[in-house]
Point group: C2
Chain length 381, copies 2
Amino acid sequence: MTLPTPGFSFRVETLDGSARCGVFTTPRAVIETPAFMPVGTQAAVKALSPEEVAATGARIILANTYHLWLRPGAELVARHGGVVGFMKWPHALLTDSGGYQVFSLAKHRTIDDDGITFRSHLDGDEYRLTPEEAMRVQALLGSDVAMVLDECPPGGAPRADVERAIKRTTVWTTRSLAAPSAEGQGRFGIVQGGTHLDLRLSHLQTVGALDVDGVALGGFSVGEPIEQMYELLAAIGPRMPADKPRYLMGVGTPTDLLRAVGNGIDLFDCVLPTRNARNGQALTWSGRANLRQARHSDDHSPVDPMCECPTCAAFSRAYVRHLFKSDEMLGPRLLTLHNLHFYGALMRKAREMIRTQAFASWAESTIQRMRELDEVTAAEG
Amino acid sequence: MTLPTPGFSFRVETLDGSARCGVFTTPRAVIETPAFMPVGTQAAVKALSPEEVAATGARIILANTYHLWLRPGAELVARHGGVVGFMKWPHALLTDSGGYQVFSLAKHRTIDDDGITFRSHLDGDEYRLTPEEAMRVQALLGSDVAMVLDECPPGGAPRADVERAIKRTTVWTTRSLAAPSAEGQGRFGIVQGGTHLDLRLSHLQTVGALDVDGVALGGFSVGEPIEQMYELLAAIGPRMPADKPRYLMGVGTPTDLLRAVGNGIDLFDCVLPTRNARNGQALTWSGRANLRQARHSDDHSPVDPMCECPTCAAFSRAYVRHLFKSDEMLGPRLLTLHNLHFYGALMRKAREMIRTQAFASWAESTIQRMRELDEVTAAEG
């Protein structure tokens, strides 16, 4: 069915319990869901070319408004065709609002009901982020999907703080949606509420009723016990709007993704596969492996024998380990390529299992296999 | 014509003055000369995949014996199919003897007539490099071409030191050639002599008379004025054996390569295109450009409008600059790709010009163009 913004549509093709297989269409891409969005913070998925990212199956990536606003500047990016033109990404793009990174990276932040004043972590220049400014900057960045400005309270914040953040987020969402919209740019609303189920559900009702092209869950995976996130997702996911894409922001591990897909989530983004790759950690069908460990020094086998990515097709664990031990940037590059291929394959397989009504048991056995064969846990245990 | 080692041959196809176009065949590759060998020090051309290196036109690369001997170890590399099997390089490989880097990197070096004792710069372990050991290690590394162990005196060394180094190099060359040879591995001798033309010519006679598959010039570009190197090359190059590949070690800039080709050199290696790329310097048909400079911040044009590499085909200078300013490793990767493509194209064009008897004037105008349009000189001037 069509979404509020012209050129956007979302269609659920198969339901398997709460899990769903769908097609999210933007002006630039047809995205099969569930889908993982690789993170290209500064208009680059670290170490990879756009072709390599696309070859993992990704049809939408995320870029960070805060970073690009500060450097090289949103106006400059706009002159170069927006983020997709600047970085030559041939598919769809989602940008965050910038709010989350103002809180995690910027200096001297002061927040009021109208917006946030902060200083750049790069040069100390003062900036002012309001709901309207977040939309203006994202319009310049030219993403397919812009996120409304929200306030994400820190993990473990008192209930009163969460309630205040929800109120502010609601006002900011309305203001964001009232701001002039860029041609061909859809907008997702964000549900907050921390670990309080009642607050989450009531905010979901508020946001779900607005004229948004998709609904996101913010403020998860910010320090709460993972089982608590799973419980909340089980209660919230199935109650999110059925006819719009559902996006769990900043999550997560392969297990997190499968749990969330089981509860009806469609879209994910996370730095985990790319960041961990740069630290030598491979994510595989058999859990995690740290390629820096000596156990791999003479290992002829690929990073993941069950993987068909270019890294696993060609190179041995011994070679990848050598690259990491020798500080060769080909090491992070090859593991990033593998990890994103694995995430792409995981989502592809999840869609296939949903289509054949076999998702739940496949997900359980996949999660169990990854837990049992996890080399990082084994090395620590 | 065939060379001493079975499976090796070299054929000069065209002469244009002293410049020559030829075909050097090893068991793993057919190499059109003049050719540039990208440097893959630690069994990886920094930032690039083997396919990308091959796509620059390279059919032979260089790996450094010293580095691989110390880490991950020559025996380990041998168990993984040698360097080419370990790194999945699909063409030919040349290894140096290790001697040069023992002198530039290792600790507590002591040299005697039999060899060199040193400690690893990585862990302080003691090693002993002799002519026989250099051949044993290179046999394990499995290169197509092994270099004999030589002594390269420092730039500006007194004549007596150069004479002693030549004597030692001659003895070590004979010992290297007498050491058991690996199947399918050819051997190049090395001519020393610093900036002393008479010493160079007499050592060339000595080395050229030995049973080597190629003759290399060592000890150039070690601090002597560049015009002095050109003068020496003009006197030495044409007198090198006509029927064997001639290799100028560790050289150089695009201009250096064209000057040397004009004097009959066939093979080159140098870290310049790869190392300078990582510092943001592009080498182009219009000289050098520093992509970190602010002048490129809003520049829509490619790194080199005359280049057809994947970097220049897709990306703007503004984007490449953004990657460098943002410490994205895609920046070094894209510039390394460009620089090696440029070196490949330069050698391809040189061969074409030799074939049409137009090398000298083309080389002069190319050198002049690169000098006149050089942005780095312009920025400094």
